[in-house]
Each structure stands twice: as C-alpha cells, then as structure tokens.
Symmetry: C2
Subunit: 606 residues, 2 copies
Amino acid sequence: MRWEPCWLPETDIPESLHTPLDTAAWELEQAGLTVTIKLDQELGNDAYEITEGKGETQIRGGSTGVLYGAYGLLACRRLGLSIPKGVQTPAFALRMLNHWDNMDGTVERGYAGDSLFFEKGGFRNDFSRLRWYARLLASVGINVICLNNVNVHAPAQALTDMRFLPDVAQLSALFAPFGIRLMLAVDFAMPMQAGLPTADPLDERVRTWWNERVSLIYRFVPSLCGFLVKADSENRPGPYAYGRDHAQGANLLARALQPHGGVLVWRCFVYNCKQDWRDHTTDRPMAAYQNYAAMDGEFEDNVILQIKHGPFDFQVREPLSPLLLAMPHTRKAMELQLTQEYTGQQIDLYAMQGMWNELFADLPSGRVTAIAAVANTGCDENWTGHPLAQLNLFAYGITAWQPGLPFEQVTRCWARLTYSLTGESLETLVNLLVHSRETYERYTATLGLCWMVNPGYHYGPNPMGYEYSPWGTYHRADRNAVGVDRTASGTGYLLQYPLRWQERYRNPETCPERLLLFFHRLPYHWRMKDGRTLLQRIYDDAYAGAAETVIMRNQLRTLKNALPQATYRIAAERLERQVGNAREWRDVLCDFFHRLSGVEDEKARL
Amino acid sequence: MRWEPCWLPETDIPESLHTPLDTAAWELEQAGLTVTIKLDQELGNDAYEITEGKGETQIRGGSTGVLYGAYGLLACRRLGLSIPKGVQTPAFALRMLNHWDNMDGTVERGYAGDSLFFEKGGFRNDFSRLRWYARLLASVGINVICLNNVNVHAPAQALTDMRFLPDVAQLSALFAPFGIRLMLAVDFAMPMQAGLPTADPLDERVRTWWNERVSLIYRFVPSLCGFLVKADSENRPGPYAYGRDHAQGANLLARALQPHGGVLVWRCFVYNCKQDWRDHTTDRPMAAYQNYAAMDGEFEDNVILQIKHGPFDFQVREPLSPLLLAMPHTRKAMELQLTQEYTGQQIDLYAMQGMWNELFADLPSGRVTAIAAVANTGCDENWTGHPLAQLNLFAYGITAWQPGLPFEQVTRCWARLTYSLTGESLETLVNLLVHSRETYERYTATLGLCWMVNPGYHYGPNPMGYEYSPWGTYHRADRNAVGVDRTASGTGYLLQYPLRWQERYRNPETCPERLLLFFHRLPYHWRMKDGRTLLQRIYDDAYAGAAETVIMRNQLRTLKNALPQATYRIAAERLERQVGNAREWRDVLCDFFHRLSGVEDEKARL
C-alpha cells in the first residue's frame, strides 16, 4: 500500500531499526547512496553537517542529527540542489505536533479521516502505517508528537495508567528510530478521578499523586517528552477552581516531571467562554495576556507556555499575540494550526506558510523557544484529506527548523519532491498554492474581519452567527460601521503591545489594511488608501476571491495529467466545492453588508 | 406509580377490559356511580346521550360513544356541572394524534422524554403505562394514534412486516378497549427496500406489492385505521421521483387499503427545501396550494389530505392555510402541533387553544372532515415534560370533539379536573395559561414575524439564522424595512385565498396587525394604528413580553401550595428558564433591529 503523496521511496520499513542512526543508514541504502555517517554528539542532538570531498560524502551529526542529515542529503540529491554548507541546526529544539485525537477514533476538528492512533476506545495499532507516518514526520524534522486531544475525553485519562501505558511504550519504541518522542495531554483533575477529594495544586496529597503517577509513566516510557495541558479553558478543569493561579498549577506538574527530564507544555488559551454579548468592555483577544503576562518568571524552567499565534483562535487574519512579545523570563512556544478549522477544512485550498513567515517577520528572534502545530493528518490515504494540504505539514517542518524561508521556494521544493513536477506544471501548482491564502481571505475575512463562519461547524458563511453567542467573538456590524475599536479609545487591547507595535496599528490611516477592522471600528464610507470606500472594498474582495477560485479550478485542470490520478481527482472534486463555497461567501457577505448599509455596489453586481 | 397530572382516579387498569363498553362500566364503577349503559349503534360509533330521571342515570351510545358518555358524566360530576342535553356528536370522526416516535426510542421534536412505544429498535412494551396512556387519550376523545414518525427511519419500515406486526397487533388490542385505533406511518419507497426495482405508483408490480402488504397487515391488525404518509417532503421519497403526481401516489395506497376499510392520510407538507435564498420569487407558503389545489376530485374517497394549519410550519402566528379553504371535493384534515417545536419546547408556557379557536373561527364549517395533531407526550412522569403543557393535549381533545369552545372555560375545566383548584388559585392558573401565547408571541414573533429562531434547534433567538438557508424562510430585514410582500404586487401568495380573505389582508392599513409582517414588507417608520412606529412596536412588544414572563413567575409562586409539589417544582424551574429566554429574545431582537435601523427606542431602554 502506498499513502499518497510522499516523496520518499515506497518501501516497507523494517522493524529492525532501533535508532535514528539505523534509520539514516537504511534510508541512504534504499536510495543507493554510499555515505559515511559519523555520530558527533558535540554538535547537539539534532544538528548535522554534510561534507563532500574526494568522491566521499560524509554526514556528521548528533543522535538524531544524522537522520536529518540523511533526509537533507536525499532531498538535495532528488532536487539537484547543492549541499548546504556548514553545520545545520534547528531554530527550535522542540518541533511539536499536537494531535487532537480521541480514543473513540474521531479527531476533533479533523478533516482527514479517523485517528491514526486510536479506535473504539483503544489503540488502533496499525504499526506498518504508523512507521510510514513516523518517517513522514521525521523527513521534515518533527521530533515531538502529542498523541491525544487536549480536551481529554474518557478513556484517554488511562493513557497514563497501567491500562494503556504498555501501548504508549510500544508506540514510543516505534517512533524512536525516527527521532520522535511522545507527549501526552493530561487532565488537570485526574487526581480526583483517581479518588482524591481535590486536585488543588498546593495540596500535598495531590503533589504526591502526580509524583507517583509521573514515576510510573516514566518507568514505561523513559523517553517521554512530557505533558500537554489545557486547563481552565473552554470548560476544562484547572487551578482556578482552587483559587490557585496558573503558575501554581503548571509548576505542580513541572516539578513532578523534572526528575525525569520531562517538560510541561501549558496552553494559554484561557478566556471567558461565557461572555455576555451585551458586554462591550470585555474583549476576548485581551484574555491570554491578562491571564499570564504578570506571572513572568514564576514558572519552573521546564514549563513551556504554548501560545496561539494570534490572540483569538486561528482565524484567517490575526495580528501576532502580544503575549508572545511579553514574558522574557518564561519559555514560550508558538502554536499554529495545520488542521484547517477556520481556513477551509481541507476542502478549500489554504497554504499556510506565507502566514507563518509574516508572524516570524514580526517576532523578534529568541522570543519563542519551541513551536507546536495542531496536526492535519488522519487515516485518509493521502494523510491530509486534501492531498495538497500535505504542503502545510511539510512547510511546518521546514519552518520549525528554519522559520522564514521563502514560501514559494518551499512550496516548489515540496511540489518537486512529491509529484516530480517540472516546467509549466510546477509553476502552475506553485502559483495555485502560494496565492491560495489571499484568495480565501478575500472571500471569507477581508480586512481582518473574522468570525463570520457558521457557529460550531466553522465552514461556510454566517455573518451574524457569532454576534449573540457567549464566545467573545463579535464584529458588531450595524447600518453605519463594522469592527471593534481595540485602541486606547476602545477596549485597550492595543496597549498590550510594545510601543512600536502600538504605533503601527493605532491610527486607522496608517494601520495595515489587512488588519484594519481587527483594530478599528470604521464607517462603511471610510476611504481606503486607493480611494475606494471600505464597503466597496468588502464587495470587491468578495467578488475577486470568488472569481479567483474559478481561475484556480481552471489552473488545476491543466494539471490533470501531471498529477497522480487520485491526487488530481480528489483535488479537483474539492476545488469544485470550493468554487461553490466561495460563491456562497461572496453572495452572503455582500447581501449582508448591502442590507445593513443600503449602499449599492459601484459595479452593480448585487 | 402515578403519572402526574391526570384527573382520573388512580387505579390499576385491569387487563380484562376488551371493549369500550367494558371500560365505560369499569370507570363508572371505580367512581362509585350507578349508571345504566345502553349500546345504541344507530347514534353512530362515537355519539352518546346522557339522561337522568327518577333517580336513574342512563348513558346511551354507540360502541365507543358509551365510553365517551362515561367520561363526560364523570367530568360533569367532578366539576358539578349539569349534564349536557341531547345527543353529543363529535365534529370530526377521526380525532388523530401523530407520534413522531423513532424506534430507537427518541422522539423527533419531542420534549417530554423518550418514546412511550419504542426503545432500542423494538417495542418498549410497558403495557401498564400504555393502558394509562390509552385511558388518558380516550378521556378527551382521541380515537386514532399514529405510532411512528412520519420520517420513517429504520427499522420502522418493519412495523408493516412479520418482524413487528405481532407487536403492533398487541398494541392494537391494548388500545381497543379505549376506542383507539392505530395508524402506521409508511415510507413510499418501501417496495424498493423490499427488492422491487421501482416504487412507481403506476407499476403493476408495485401495486401488487402494496396490495399484498396491506392484506398481510390487516390479517394481524384488522382494526388498523390506515396509513400516514409524508412523501416528496424534506428529502422523503415520493411519486415525483417517477414523474407521477400526488393523486397517483396517494391513490395507489388508498386502493390497497379500500378493501379493508382503511384510510390513507397524505401529508401536504411539500415544498422546495433546497431553495436558493437569492430567489425572491419562490415563496414557500405558496407551495402546498401549488402542489395540490388543482388536483381536487382526483383522490380516492378514502384519501384524507392532512394540511398544516398554516402555510409555513407551525410558527407562532400564521394565517390559515389557503389549501384548507380550497379543494371542496377532497377530504381534508387540519394538522396542529402539540409538541412545542417553535413555541417554547415545553420550557416556555404556551397554551394553544386560543390559536385553534381563531383558526376555526376563520374556517367555514365543513371544510375539514378530520383533525390531527403532533403529540407532545413521552415517558416523562407528567407525560408532557412541562406539566402545564398537558392542557394542550386536553384542549386538543375537546377541540377535536367540538371546536371553538371558549378557551378560558376549557382551561378552567382542565385546571379543576387536574388539580382540583378553586378560588384565587384557579383564577391565577387560568390567567397564566390563557395569556401565555400572547406573551410568547410578543417576545419571539410579533406582527407575524417568524423564523427568527436558532436553525435546526428552534429554541432561542437568531434573527438572521434562516436568512441564508435553503428552507424558504426569510424575513429579508434590511436597514429600512422588514417582511415579505405576499400580496399581488409581491409574491402573489395572497391570491391563493378567496376574495373576502384577500380583501382582509391586502391593504397594510387594514390588515390585522398580528399578521402585518406576514403579508407585507414595511418600513420601520410605518405608523401603526395607535400612532407608534412599526419599529417602536417591535421594541415595545419585546419588552412587554419579557416583562410579562416576570409577572408570570410571580403569579406561579402564589400557587406553590395549591399545586402538587412535583408539578410546582418543575413548572417553577421552567418558568425561571423562560424568564431568561424571554430576556435573551428581547435583547437580541432589539439589538438586531437597532443595528439595522439606527433608530433609538423612544423609551431609551436599549
């Protein structure tokens, strides 16, 4: 069986591989390359250097670095690129993938089939496929995966006890030869589920319980990377229930993990999900900073705060989260979302690396020390539902190793590696992907207008869908204006940023237009820089985005013979649905703003 | 076990009752009354006469009439009313209750617990409770119940074959002593599920299949009343798939039923549920008339067209369906909905008889020959979820026997029979119930504005929820105006009515205000008869309705000791939720129309 599309040679992966060094040697042998591999732990675990001379190629690297060196060499050979000079070191030591997999086999916000790990309340144990998956992830440098959903649904609590630890250990051994360590999402209230009367982080019994539990886990899985926790968030339990703060909560678990070298990844996705929509002063984007910024320095060294890239929740366009710019004395991870919850659900094309490059261009280096992404993979034969969505997984691995590489270049590499495209076909596919985000943004969320999706489901237009909900997600559109004033004269969200950022966003005349309605409330007749009104821009973008999907469809058709048959068939079928989705977005948004404003489209398209 | 609230003496019902005459004798004996019962089939099945004289009371009646006579006498005795003079005959020979029960035990749009009949794909067979249920229905004169959902989900198709026919027969025997006959909802495509290549009503094989199937059914259940069919409606199969009309479809089944004396009840709820919201010419309320009116006279004599009372779908306020005024040569049933799908879901109080009285006041007599209602009952101990919702079941039975009795009088009878209330408590409860519909209408759907509910779920406000949906349910509110022009200058819906009706509704100056926005599209500044603007009226009604729920809560509190404890507790808890629901409706609707219109509330409450 072949899982499309993967650029590595299609061969069964032997069970005899035990270390990344074994795997490196096997991969090079499969490819018919004669390479000397030298372990050099002084470079650090992940780093490597490839040297060529006198007809001999050598890879020198740390324990996993040798494997990354092998994949790097294979990619260069296949692409005909010259070998990178000098020691290659990843920007982030932890390059994490968070699976939102439930043990019943479903995947929360998953659009690529069932869970790769679980089914029917236990492990799926399709080891052959999992070895392919490990190899796929290792080939792009991912080195940590969290197996289970951050919303820990029963029986996933038992991943940390005798019931499932043997299975976790087995998976850990399976992923080890690919340099990948496991992480488990745990439930803060687990001590109570185990019979304690409290989960209070300052209670001695709770501390003892976690210490013992962690010791048990590490007896089975000595290489476990650590825990991932969603606490006091969207109805999950957490330290607030005991009047404790999140440093106290996180440190409890961190201290239990310390003796074993484990890390505690603590998600900062904490906000009031029962907001009264009548309340105009509470502003959800302010929540993460309000909850955490003042606690800088209070967390144990092995705590990593995992912060979503934007202050809301993986919307199409958000500014960088101000919390990522704060807390200099705290380890922080940036969280991205590969699964396309709000970005087309692997039906609509949405290539993400352009967004990530913008984020990293905004983020001074050294502010985050780790990176995480919610996985977009599942049991679908092509791993990601939409075959072209695998680019996002690939580009995430590349970005986690070295942020900011040109989007187009990475996309081109992926298209060549995966489909061996050349010439016009290659340019067509790259062009289709590189512009896909702008197109999606135009028809769904221009100017930073977000949350106009169908509530709950998050696909398709519903401009009033979140206006009277408790989730803190409002655009407050009325007959005159739209958007939320988040400057000092409004909710004050902007004041959470350093001064330079405040200056960039505070004046609607100079604020980047792509975030205009994120930061400002403006009348429909507001003049954009090119002289059009704000309203006309909304109309125009909706029409332009929808028209672009038709062009995309036509472009894709030219690739019918260049792409593998199944890839083309699935991509074409989805792009057809995207054309319909874009038309619906266009017409609903234009109708909605036309009803409100009463102003006709200058081009008389309504 | 006692199922609250029921006015009949709490005694186990013996299995030895076989006929309504047996039951009549047993009921009278239970009540300690000495009565001579005389069967007199010449009166007709259901009619009865009670006479008193020389210390002797006599009930003379048809085979079921004797039982209705007994219940009538018991009620009069309990209420201290004088015996009605002369022969009592029901207005409708078929007084039907449609259960929307699925065989997995759920009830579509049910708000009173699980199905009384089914669980886990089979029959629940709680015979003791079902006998109580039969008695409850008989006591208000209901004589036909359809057991299963008109949306026939597997395995309910097997209700008509060997798998479940013995169970149906058993239930039929259980209901017989209470004068209640069963009906089954069938799926038009059943011949195909049974292996035929078609369900075309003109195909000989299909005809033969139905004839044989019906013969089989009647061998098991000779007293079956007939079939209920939802065809070509909301994605159900039907004759349109074969290019046949609904007369051809209905007559197929009717002819199969004729030899056995069965009737075929054919629902006229046919409309385009995939409408493009952009299409302003298609108008869903026109659908039933368009689909059926021209077929008058084409249906077999044992076909009854079951027509919803309004042209939409059980909204809070709709005009009488024009189809009920048409088709003089066709038997028609009016369909009501006791289960409160759009009317508060048995959380909010909503007593319905006032609405039915308006409908019957509008309907010239003789236009409908049968009556049906979707049941509001289930396994909850009080039968109807909200204990006070049982009034709707009671009032339906009364209305089915004699439409148009004063709402307040019927409500008073029910409150006295059920709770033995007197004096101020009685007046308080009657007042609470009699005005509950107006209150609900004020905060959810004033002036005939419907469909502002949460899509799918149908509870709670969502003013734009159905505006971009395919269900044909639009109010088209924009910054200037709201409503749909359904007059000759608009969609033309009004032209489906007789002239006198057209005159009543066509001029917005004289159209009854409660239906103003059902028939007309009007600007917010439109002057109502009392001088207020349309918009101010919407604001005022929302506030008045919400304020009334607070008064209702206070009124109910005065009944704490007058009502049974469980009744009070459940009613009070629900009324608390109603207060919250009404506040949410008020604020969402006012905010919505304020955003659109930009016009402030004159009373500055927003």
